[in-house]
Symmetry: C2
């Protein structure tokens, strides 16, 4: 049997980023935390956490932490039938998830907030590109994820949520200045584009579809969905924006599509670890319901 108090110490170190803060969270001394983690490492025969600032789990460490997350979900189920386990009813379960920034900025945040306001959970939300959130689940860092990947990881389920619709848009002044003769590969090679991060390939995908070839785009990187819109309004660059976020600006003409009627649809999927947990099922219900409202048909 795994030593769960040692595993809880490991999870606290990973979550808090240091042995000192983990000790404070667990109400024990740092040397007790250190000893528990070391014993677990000896038992496993490998390092579980890379000591640094912050401390980070090794791959095996992350898998153990995900196992602990699942065990805690099961404990929560048990508490429902054995209320004496937690007479004060104060225990909250940690639910780590990963989501893409544009979902969080549009349909996902209100759904998540409504769920978390009522359920006995503490959400740990990680934000990454929709092409990479599934890796968070695969590596064991989270229990559920919104992802552009359809195929579920081992031990996980996935289901289609619908598609996020993007529009290639910029300010009218930007378009007049950088695309006076329309959108061509040559003009795109000179007009600054907006990228959310180095992982963001939406602009390149849209260009490949429009121009039927790769164009090396000059680019700003700006990792915030809302700042992306602010940047577009001010004429800093063109980029792919979630339609839900810029519809008011398209309506009032402060942003225009680079080429009318050329949306890019990105199908999204909900992945969750199989965990026989009513909490995770509850979150799934809320997420699927919000996606039905907030996303288009995939």
């Amino acid at each position: 049997m795994i030593d769960y108090s040692a595993l809880a110490a490991l999870a606290a170190v990973v979550r808090e980023g240091s042995f000192e803060r983990a000790a404070r969270a667990l109400h024990v001394t740092p040397s007790a935390v250190s000893q528990r983690v070391r014993l677990l490492e000896e038992r496993m025969g490998c390092a579980l956490v890379v000591r640094g600032q912050p401390c980070q789990p090794t791959e095996t460490g992350r898998r153990l932490c995900q196992h602990l997350d699942r065990v805690r979900l099961l404990e929560h189920e048990l508490r429902g039938t054995l209320p004496t386990l937690d007479p004060q009813g104060h225990t909250r379960v940690r639910l780590p998830i990963a989501v893409n920034a544009d979902s969080l900025a549009t349909w996902f945040a209100p759904a998540l907030a409504a769920f978390a306001a009522e359920a006995p959970v503490l959400m740990d939300v990680a934000v990454d590109d929709e092409g990479h959130t599934a890796e968070w689940l695969r590596s064991g860092a989270v229990l559920a994820a919104v992802s552009a990947t359809a195929r579920p990881a081992t031990g996980c389920n996935s289901r289609a949520l619908g598609a996020m619709r993007y529009r290639a848009a910029a300010s009218p002044r930007f378009v007049a200045r950088h695309f006076p003769d329309g959108v061509s590969a040559g003009a795109l090679a000179r007009a600054p584009s907006l990228l959310f991060s180095a992982k963001d390939d939406l602009q390149a995908r849209w260009v490949r579809r429009q121009c039927r070839r790769h164009v090396e785009l000059p680019r700003h990187t700006l990792p915030s969905s809302q700042a992306f819109v602010t940047a577009a309004l001010a004429g800093m660059g063109w980029g792919l924006h979630p339609q839900a976020l810029i519809q008011p600006h398209l309506d009032d003409g402060s942003l225009v599509e680079l080429v009318p009627h050329t949306p890019l649809d990105v199908p999204l999927y909900w992945h969750e670890a199989r965990a026989a947990s009513s909490l995770l099922e509850g979150l799934t219900r809320v997420v699927v319901g919000a996606a039905k409202q907030g996303l288009g048909r995939g």
Copy 2:
């Protein structure tokens, strides 16, 4: 003399995250990129990039990249006096900066966007906790940063920008439910708080000031300034919000201060690498001007 074509290859690998994408950006073959980086590594006698997904610079690699950024700024100055260097006037200079998320979500984004819409730059914006952005400059990853640290790094200048005012706020329903008898250490130990990330210590600082002791807070982590507000409105938790972001909600009563008139002011500083660059000076002017409007007196 440093081999600048090799250094440009290194910088492209770091920026693009892979040798293949760097090759495409530089219009050369991947093996040419690989060879240039290897020669530079042999010359320096150490690894400059950690091959991975994405490729990341070593500390020495990062310093070399920052040096290249500075040289490019100087080249841009020269172009101003020798226009034949760049007859088409299309060359844009890459300007990597780091900023805290709450600044980006409030006063910083419009200023940055207005600057970048007119200046011949490509901005690379990194977002991190205001306690950590100065490290980005120190490590050579960026040329300027908004930071809570006053002391400038070697080779850099810093100046006070003013203070960001935060309010500890939640929905009225959340307050009624979790603080029926007022805000106490005991109630705070049970009411879910909102943290931006594991690095976010604003909530802990506010609690320490209010309760005159450390309280271990149950917490959600939610790394988005706007989702933070959405979460507060829905009653998911309490947290420290930039006043500029939640003033409308405080005005209409959808959010209330946990304890009236208990703002937390975080002084912010602008750090920039000394680079004798009119572009960097231009950005500084815009940032200082926007801070004067958007921040309180430090």
